[in-house]
Symmetry: D2
Subunit: 210 residues, 4 copies
């Protein structure tokens, strides 16, 4: 279905990997990864946490820059007009829902940003880090596919990076929007790939940086 997009000219080519990857990990904070929170612990997210941990372990051994983030505000006053009350009312500095997921975050290696919009690129300093590291390829992991991942993919693309989304490393509340959003971005902005493909690339990078 929807092949009409391909017929008129969408998804006509792959983008491919570049020379210097950077990894952007989006919103793997307890509010999403821990089932004790209203928005937390969805199965697709749990799957993505495990796969991302595997990917990050290899990336760090290859000295690949890893940027991670959580969403938090000082109060509801400075939050945007979210239609999701737990984000506005609980994602405040110091609240446990804003703590980084320990299976993901390595405080000695990763650079962590507080973000306030859906995209990890929106008004955070990630660009400063990725440019200094001469990144040309952004690999995106995290949650949710139909929210903050979609937004982060758009921005990484807009800034001129090659964008790669390993499907098993992104998760969502439900499968339909997860799939639909990967289809949307795969038509336009990014290569949607499996975990093996990304692991093989990162292994090459690790050997080169050895």
């Amino acid at each position: 279905m929807n092949d009409i997009y391909k017929q008129v000219g969408f998804e006509a080519n792959e983008i491919g990997f570049g020379e210097r990857p950077g990894i952007a990990v989006v919103d793997f904070q307890r509010g999403f990864t821990d089932a004790g929170f209203p928005l937390g612990g969805r199965p697709l997210v749990e799957r993505a946490v495990g796969n991302t941990a595997t990917m990050l372990d290899l990336a760090r051994r290859g000295n690949v820059p890893v940027a991670t983030c959580y969403t938090a505000y000082s109060s509801a006053r400075d939050a945007p007009y979210w239609k999701i009350p737990p984000v506005v009312n609980e994602f405040h500095h110091g609240h446990p829902s804003t703590e980084m997921e320990p299976r993901i975050y390595d405080a000695d290696y990763d650079v962590v940003y507080c973000k306030t919009g859906p995209s990890i690129f929106f008004q955070t300093a990630i660009m400063q880090f990725f440019i200094k590291e001469r990144v040309d390829t952004v690999i995106i992991a995290g949650c949710n596919t139909s929210g903050c991942i979609r937004a982060s993919v758009i921005d990484a693309f807009s800034y001129g990076f090659r964008v790669i989304v390993p499907e098993p490393c992104v998760g969502d509340v439900d499968d339909g929007p997860h799939r639909n959003n990967l289809t949307d971005v795969g038509r336009r902005y990014a290569d949607v790939v499996d975990l093996d493909t990304v692991m093989a690339y990162l292994e090459e990078v690790r050997k080169r940086n050895d």
Copy 2:
């Protein structure tokens, strides 16, 4: 289906209109509105052009700021990694696909920006105009819903605006992604409304500004 989003806390409230609207019209350029171009003339886009023209006529009579845009590059060298060859190869400065749709664009009233990413907010001067005009509510029209509209909604939300999407004023290549993307943004970032609702609001604004 997908009510699981509502169950966990998405789409729990409406955002509502504020006091000062601004209208952002995305990519109503001949490459999308004219069937003579590869990506042009899709029925949902044709419908959106007509409805948007109606809305803009009222908005201009009410002195509401109108920002419009087209996508164009100097060459393929400075374009991002689009997977849509007509955008990379034809949307160049001076090419007829970058001309504004005459049913939409009023050169004596609208402010026009050249954009280079999906979002009308990405690296254009629209913020400068909307802040100077003290806009607090952004109404988004244009195409395509599953591409540049989705991206523009995310950015308008991220900047702290109230975001309104009149469904009949946005169009797409096909109906499925059009609907799915409106569902995604209506859960999180924006109120998706019908044309009458926006027209009634703009008529109120027009009377107030009279």
Copy 3:
């Protein structure tokens, strides 16, 4: 001297105050306000701390939005190419030089951002807050005039705000660059005023919001 700027058309008008102010307080963190740190405790900065505290007290009583910030990095790896070693090597998350100056920061009222460039507007969420608060006039305080203040003034102007710099609320390492930079921005982007002028305006705003 330098009247040649006025002769050719610079500084031809005042900007004036708008209806809704927001205050941006830049880098009043211990690394600059405490003489125990290499860059800290300069007399002009000490003067600015006192004056800004006075201004903020009135602003908070008038419900005026106050955004404040500090500069910090995860490590030298993610810092930009500063030519000032203490910034790169000491302004790290958790280091005492990044703690907010207690005479300035009110954790119950102010919204605080971590910034990584000179400008408080560069890749921070201040725009989200100021737009939601419908700010049209940005009053800038902090340090240093010839560094982060200059940068913040440029960005506030670029975003379309009316920009006001109360001279006694900004400080620097030395007087020459302090004066020269106020001259530069006063010719182009901002009204440079005394403290009484800002206090009278904020008192009006306070009465209106009462």
Copy 4:
């Protein structure tokens, strides 16, 4: 004078050139380069035009990305609060003051952006181009040193680039602010160098890219 900055830790090191330069040419448009316009034809700017033309000739032979820009608005309505009437009232799309200086602009090679703030990086697509070209070093030319050059240097630095300012390639209305602003940025954000130094570097790059 002002050695106090060095004493406390400013300007403690050089930044140095990286591997891949990009050139950002700021506001060499007739409104500044042609003495027939109110702000045009200042001697320091005329000097900078000649030196920049020399530098760009070598850069293009080395396939170095060149981004250039002009400042223009649709009308005074969408311009920010400039205190310089000729900018607000004459720098409109289609006005001769917005035409590119022919000694500088090569339409077959350069990528040109319309900008609306002082900085060539503020809300233009230059980042997209420079990231795609994998630029790590930004060389800045143009006018005026105490206005748009200062702003562009700050942003290039903030994005994480190595920033180089060849003094003979930037100009201003008068010499004092020209020198003072180079001192300010040389203490913090950029290496201020002579023309020979940049030419030797670009010649190396040209040979490498041959």
